[in-house]
Amino acid sequence: MLATGDVREDAVVHLDELVPGALIAEGGEGRVFEVEVRPQHGRAAGRGVELHAEATSLVYKQFRDPLPTTWLMPAICFPFGLEPQLAARVRSASAWPVAVVVGEDPSVAQGTLMPRAPGAFWLQHREGRPRLATLSYLTSDPDRITVAYGTVMPAPGTPERVGIVYALARLLDAWQQHGAGGAPAPASARSLGWGAQAGQHPGAGGAPAMVVHGDLSAKNVLWSLDPVPAVYVLDCDGAYVLDCDGAAVLAPEGLGAGRAKDWEHEGSAGSGPDAALGRSRARTPNWDDPAQDPCAPPSLSADRYALGLAFLRVVGAAHFPLQARQRAGEKISIDLEVPRSWRRLPDMPRLWELCERSLSVAGAADRPSPAEWAAELEMLLGAMGSAGLAGRVRALQGDPRPSAAGTAGHDLSALSTSRSFHFAASSSSGGSQRALVTVPDVEVRPLVRHRVASSWALVNAAGQPAPQSAGEGLAGIGLASGVGLGQFLRRVGRAWVGAHRLAFGLLRSRGRRGDGLRRLARALVVDLAGACLVLFLVGMIVSPWIGL
């Protein structure tokens, strides 16, 4: 990790060495071009550029407002401070900027060079040009995506989806690990002389650092299943580098209008992290952390929130728009539909605990680290019979080590078992006894499609006791198999209670009120018929006594 003012010569490319190509994208931050690098004047291509010799191509991101070169250096140099396997993980799973592009003035960066997303992260629709395979494809109904675009998405809850979140968790782990034995800074580093400020930041001795992306969202995270689940995170040139105390080493500017003017007025030599701090980067509204102050640079917990949200949305294949409710201070209860095959998995209460802690606003400081997520997802993949898949994900990332289990994790024995998939057990486990001090503001419950009255419905595991024989409708209960009257009445009673609970639950659920009303109407018709039958029977029994 370099001192803030250091500029690596081999991470600087001059504008005249670039051969511009087609415009790929244009946005608020600037424009992205295909580009070829032609070293001139005998200059080496740059170690960072050479590292991507096998990459398909590089792209040049031209900033709308130029920035000081020194502001981008910590982010660009971050992988060089990691041990080789972690660096390989970072470079394989993210479009980490390899060089700064400068013009006449080497202290002003016109843009950055980044690797282009590899071909595996592009999707071809039925028609039209190839598009980036963003998480947007995975966070909605897979059947709709197939019908609309002709591309087949994995079903919700499949190991492939878990594998994608696992790959993302491992990338975030590489970003948020510190003290991971970083390599010493290259000898070619030279300081621009920060003076008194240099002492505040990690020196040139390879001190550890962490990175906050700050804008993890469906548009910035690409995915691939060819050949194994993998992720590729874009927009890493705006990442914030932190030292091991979590303080921003240098927060690069949010690339919006007007901010570049600040450092121009202050003078480039005088600008530093104090001027840099307090700038905000544009964040995607449905992926940002409600606990985060919008004016402050994002912290590690913002990326951790995004990871929890990615698990929910990718594995659950649904939108889960939570932020507006969380900002309103509401307690959130999430029913995550999981496949019926998950019922055969062993109890995994810790998984739901991780989800709840990740999404919690009140407990934002206690969000689990990506290492905890990676370890838990490894166990989940193992339980699903996809341990080999997890190994292949790690191998593709260039770092086949399994994740360290439960670093700074909670005492598992203190956690509740009420998050079980097995409904027979869940009905008896009662309420949750949490080891956490704070009152949880997010609750995640797995749901499985279950048969209720000969039709399928989503059933809340805590609210719906499973019938003795799954798959039987009301019409199929008991009599033909010689079940006793008491047991039959108990079954009928449970089915009656369950149908009413489901109807009221759906009535309270936004977007499913129509369904709830229909169910309630049916239930009331059954109630009325039952009441008439009971009255009739009572009348039949009582009438001789009262002389009718």
Binding site: E127, R131, I145, V147, A148, G316, E330, R510, G511, R512
Partner: protein, 252 residues
């Protein structure tokens, strides 16, 4: 603005209701319905209608082929001349195979357009609600190249029925005009609200008007869809000088 006060009231009411709500796994974003209400009178014959037909597939590609935009936008096309008809029912553009080809018809009855929109929006709203969709306030993109041929009182009455606040699903209207369209009429169609009516600049190249307008509509739809992911969706007008976004509220 009263719209902002309504947004606050609606927001608070919903927060109160949702304090103990059961969030289903199928929870989805609310959708932003857009209705393109297009004049297909005789004056559109020739190049204008051909350009519209050439640009409609671009709307489908830009909106429908981007999954992040398509999932929160619903798009429908209503044409009007002597009568109004729905040539594309309000749909998820990702699921639309091809855009219709429009043809020129007769005169220019604004009343027919407004009455038809009134019926269509109401029916589509209930159809959406039955299928579990929540709506933001619909937007009507009204495009005309001529003055209304029906009596003024008739189309103003129909317009009042469409935009009157007593009807809960009343849409926000953006009005665009070129050719013989009358700026005052367009402003009245857009309820005389600022930055909602647009007229092609005098002296602009006639061949460029329609393509630029359609590109601007796409941009408006895509920008508005991005805002639909926030808690405060906005109808974003096309990028023109002195433009500002209009806050919209969510329907119950």
């Amino acid at each position: 603005m009263s719209t902002e006060a309504n947004v606050e009231q609606v927001g608070l009411a919903m927060a109160g209701k949702m304090a103990s709500s059961y969030v289903g796994a199928q929870e989805r974003y609310a959708v932003f319905p857009f209705y393109l209400c297009l004049d297909v009178s005789q004056s559109m014959a020739g190049e204008p209608i051909a350009q519209v037909n050439a640009e409609l597939p671009a709307i489908r590609t830009s909106v429908g082929q981007d999954p992040a935009v398509a999932e929160v936008v619903r798009f429908g096309i209503v044409t009007f001349s002597d009568v109004a008809r729905t040539v594309l029912p309000l749909s998820d553009l990702a699921l639309v195979e091809a855009m219709p080809t429009l043809e020129v018809e007769g005169r220019t009855s604004y009343a027919a357009a407004f009455d038809h929109l009134r019926r269509v929006i109401e029916a589509d709203y209930y159809a959406g609600r039955d299928s579990g969709e929540r709506w933001y306030r619909p937007a009507v993109l009204f495009v005309s190249d001529g003055r209304p041929t029906d009596p003024e009182e008739r189309w103003r009455e129909a317009h009042r029925r469409l935009v009157g606040p007593s009807w809960r699903r009343h849409p926000n209207i953006l009005a665009f005009g070129f050719g013989d369209a009358v700026p005052e009429v367009l402003a009245a169609v857009a309820e005389n609200k600022p930055n909602r009516a647009f007229m092609a600049a005098a002296g602009s190249n006639p061949s460029a008007i329609v393509p630029e307008l359609m590109a601007g509509l796409v941009q408006s739809i895509v920008s508005s869809s991005a805002s639909a992911y926030t808690g405060t969706p906005q109808l974003v007008p096309p990028q023109l000088p002195n433009m500002q976004a209009i806050s919209v509220d969510e329907l119950d």
